[in-house]
Symmetry: C2
């Protein structure tokens, strides 16, 4: 069943059927009804590939993420998909992992599939070296590239980011109000990961606390491996480092910190304060509840999609949207 069959049965030309299909006004009501009836009867739907070939678009957006099972990315994908679909766009999902080479491949693939735009979810897509971001810059020469949570500057690349520096600074200063021995724990050397560290360092400076590398520690493990985080803290203590507060670059790390507290019979927040980042479901999975930074993910994703849609319609849009995180106080801090 194709447009010819419909035109035959309706006794009109394929051009007319096409017009009806596309809501073109220049069709008489009578003809329109006749065509619609036939379409209804036959259950005809236009061939998407043919349409794509003619119009050079199939209304799809490529969504890339490192690992869609990470809670943050999973949420983002959900919000993005919902917003795009509500506007008639499909999502092709690509989980790239962490290797640059795979990211390039996926990007290439999406371009080949002729998506109308690309959304990069998560800050791991943007590197320090300019040369390693070439794949993004190149892609942006063809179609708009939206980046959630990473900051870079190139034509046709749009960044929707949290002001991680400020947000983390605020959280850090909260812990440093009357304590100097705060530990910073992170698990990604990504673009936003670096901004967060900067925020911690800023907090140190502003609070008159010395910055030492032994208090800025990297967790090199699988994000779900909470026990390993606790172990890392054990190692740090064994090195002789003492701390009364831990600032974490995400909530999972904070869960590890709490686990460490349990294992050592430390009272939270009396003996140890903990702050997470992301305000995920994990904040309620512990007792007391986890103080965390709400990064307003849903709003960011909405804005991202809105912006993209406008761009696709040819509008000029801001290259950077910056949101400020909000420290949500719960029981793991005083």
């Amino acid at each position: 069943m194709n447009i010819y069959d419909v035109s035959d049965r309706a006794g009109v030309s394929i051009a007319t059927v096409s017009r009806v299909l596309n809501g073109n006004h220049k069709v008489s009501d009578k003809t329109r009804e006749k065509v619609l009836r036939v379409i209804e009867e036959c259950g005809y739907t236009p061939n998407a590939f043919a349409r794509g070939l003619g119009l050079n678009t199939m209304n799809t957006i490529g969504v890339m993420c490192a690992d869609s099972s990470y809670p943050y990315q999973a949420k983002a994908i959900y919000y993005i998909e919902q917003n795009l679909r509500a506007n008639g766009y499909d999502c092709i999902l690509c989980c790239t992992g962490d290797e640059l080479e795979r990211k390039k491949e996926c990007m290439e693939l999406l371009l080949t599939k002729k998506v109308d735009g690309i959304i990069l979810v998560g800050s791991s897509f943007v590197y320090d070296k300019k040369s390693e971001n070439k794949y993004i810059v190149d892609a942006a020469k063809q179609i708009p590239v939206m980046i959630l949570n990473a900051d870079m500057d190139a034509p046709n690349v749009y960044c929707i980011i949290t002001d991680d520096v400020k947000s983390m600074e605020e959280a850090g200063m909260f812990l440093m109000k009357n304590k100097e021995d705060i530990l910073y724990l992170y698990n990604a050397h990504s673009n936003s990961g670096k901004r967060k560290i900067q925020g911690f360092k800023n907090a140190c400076k502003k609070s008159g606390v010395g910055i030492t590398e032994e208090r800025i520690r990297y967790f090199d493990g699988y994000h779900e491996n909470i026990p390993a985080v606790a172990q890392l803290l054990e190692t740090i203590v064994n090195e002789g480092v003492r701390f009364s507060g831990i600032l974490c670059s995400d909530d999972a790390l904070a869960m590890g910190a709490l686990r460490f507290a349990w294992e050592h019979n430390l009272k939270v927040p009396e003996d140890l304060q903990v702050i997470g980042y992301g305000d995920s479901m994990l904040v309620n999975c512990c007792n007391p509840g986890l103080t965390s930074v709400d990064t307003k993910e849903e709003v960011m994703c909405q804005q991202l999609v809105d912006t993209l849609l406008q761009i696709l319609q040819g509008k000029e849009m801001p290259q950077k949207l910056v949101f400020k995180g909000k420290l949500v106080l719960r029981g793991t801090t005083r």
Copy 2:
């Protein structure tokens, strides 16, 4: 830049270019190299829409889920995407929510987009009423439909499921070894949700424990709302129901149970035992660690994709793959 441009520059016909592109053997090495060089030089990539139109496929699979931000679904999507991509297929993601109407719409849409197969992630897609599964049966008349975690019987519909009855029965019997006052907590009336309840009931029977509705309780709230789960348990206690063990249909509910224990200074597992389902990252987010049923999600997803790929190649495959869950003992049980 299209196939004609390439053929011109290489001094061959478009048929030859097409052959080179598709790895057809009947091209001389010399010609092949010449063509490949031109392709390389021009950075030519074939137009996916044109190819799709001719072949009537763009090698995409529709992946439907209710909410990709639920940890279980997020994981499944990740595994499925990885496996499909490794075999040259793209995923179009559709998050449908819980309403049947939206599920139908999404299904329709994917069919219109001419995907090669459809994967339904999560058991909420299959209903009790046969008439409400018609959208699946109809879709399966056109393309294979794979269902993760729900059981139904129709031509061209393939189910990859956990033996929830047996798995839950085993977990229940573990708790009922020497206690009768076990509570069953669930949060979905879905296909697999019902099998799980059946498992609990079986455990009661086999353990000689009476089945009462007041011990089989539904949590009607957002899956991440751990405090609300604890509140529900409070309500149940206030009704006069007592329990020394809680069997939960997923790990998030179990976190709520643990929260309830904290709030009431109940020792786990001495005063209250808890078992979750899914063996998610949450099992390590609490102290002691959560005993849970490992449903081997990754393996199931691999098998699902494998099966689908074989079906697409015309092979006859089993309509149902059943995996048995495994009870992983941790600190919340004795």
